[in-house]
Amino acid sequence: MPGSTRPGVRELQEALRSRRLRVDELLRSALQAIAGSDASEPPLGAFLSVAGEDLLTQAADLDRALDDGDEVGPLAGIPVAVKDNICTASLPTSCGSRILEDYVAPYEATVVRRLKAAGALIVGKTNLDEFAMGSSTENSGFGPTRNPLDPERVPGGSSGGSAAALAAGLVPLALGSDTGGSVRQPASFCGVVGLKPTYGRVSRYGLVAFASSLDQIGPLARNVEDVAMLLSVIAGVDRFDSTSADLPVPAYHDALGEGPEGLVVGVPREYFPDDLDPGVAAACRAALERLERLGAEVREISLPHTGYAVPAYYLVANAEASSNLARYDGLRYGMRAPGAQSTIAVYRETRGAGFGREVKRRIVLGTYGLSAGYYDAYYGTGQRVRSLIARDFERAFAGGVDVIFTPTAPTVAFRLGERIDDPVAMYLSDVFTVTANLARVPAVSIPVGRVEGLPVGGQLLARQFDEVTLLSAAHALERAVGDAAWSEEG
């Protein structure tokens, strides 16, 4: 099954360093697997663009360095997929939108520069809901991504291409972005690990802005150690992002503990409502019992404003999105509507033709919420409720819990088309993930079981900038769950 048998990054590094495996061989096999995934029927649709010949040259350089025993970076020769809303200079950055089709950024995101400096090979850009707005990857302007575990189901979103690429075994590491759960929910649906770091832990320079106070780039992989390794490479202050935190970056993968003895795990009752999918609830309860048996203390807690998180999130996110997306005017980026007869017509017609339905919906709602007479009732109220949600978390952690455990999503992966015409149902897919973005705390999704063959993700959350505790707890949970992550019993 995905994740349980495929080599992790440490095994690949050892194979490359011992020269049992060559970078060129690993890269060609990833590129072939990507091509094969789209040649199948139906196509997986995980990638929007794939690297070419220049990457083979980089691989050859790395092979020469490894042959000579030279010092190489921590991710030397490891293929990495990057979500297509993160700027790369050698591949297009479409954001899954027709308005940016074929757009190539004039600069690289800080995370991409750091990956390259670490020796990683950026093999391609992954599919997403247009401008990261969605929970299924069906909103991409270039067709949906399918879930490799059941092609009739969605991979989640908006980082669905990255999660699907991992679950299908095309790459060992991927980057996504998470504004309201866009790394964690697809990780849950595809049975992989996905982390949203604390807001400010990773530079957003070069991440195409959706909702600037919520957006954060996050790593995805098939196990916690690989996620920790990728975070260690991309995290840290960046002079090009004033919201990046000026704090030291530990070697997260070296700080992973062994077991959960003494760990205090808070379980908020609001995240286990009566209408939660019974299979999801059972898998999460079983995971908690395993942690408890291994010495963790599991304590029920309350996060009382949870029920208002989805409206608060969408009021804030849509307002920020409508402002951020104003820059796509037909002049500065990508497509321009032909034949427009005035400046305003260029703007209107380009945006009308270039944006998809969900993006238009959010621009209308966001603009409405920021307009005179509504600002305080919508954006202002959303921001006040946001601070109450953040206070709920502060109180829970002050009360002595080390981490908080919840389901990542209320259901397993749903069917393609099932929610696409019901925006409220789609928004409720994010009910357990948006709170971490609103409160700026780090959160990670880990596979904890299966329902009818489909993965269930459990989510852990920790204090701001305490990714060490978060990833240690995640590592302990991963070991506690063990092979049960791939079984129906959880």
Partner: protein, 106 residues
């Protein structure tokens, strides 16, 4: 919190978004049901709650010195036309006198 078709039309104009009649109808329905769902937030007692505050660990301010652009390729390669240090755009009809009214209305 309800939204009428005329509200959607007005907001779309403010957001510079061209919508056809079918899109206007669909967006009015969608936005109506979404705003109805958002109604729940009115139950929250926000008395005394302040909007989310400033970051605790912002990046340090840079020295106030000019730096080279961090571009991966020269600007001349980024636009269809580049002349004397400027990007050249098609002349927009709005610059012509007859289009001025259109711009000032919106």
């Amino acid at each position: 919190m309800t939204i009428k078709r005329t509200d959607v039309e007005k907001v779309a104009a403010l957001a510079r978004l061209e919508l056809d009649q079918a899109e206007l109808d669909a967006l009015t329905d969608d936005c109506g049901s979404i705003l109805e769902f958002f109604e729940a937030i009115r139950d929250v007692d926000v008395e005394g709650a302040t909007p989310a505050g400033a970051l605790e660990h912002p990046a340090p301010a840079r020295d106030d010195q000019a730096e080279h652009d961090r571009l991966e390729r020269p600007p001349a390669e980024m636009a269809p036309e580049w002349r004397e240090g400027y990007f050249v755009l098609p002349r927009l009809p709005a610059l012509d006198a007859e289009s001025v009214d259109d711009d000032s209305e919106a």
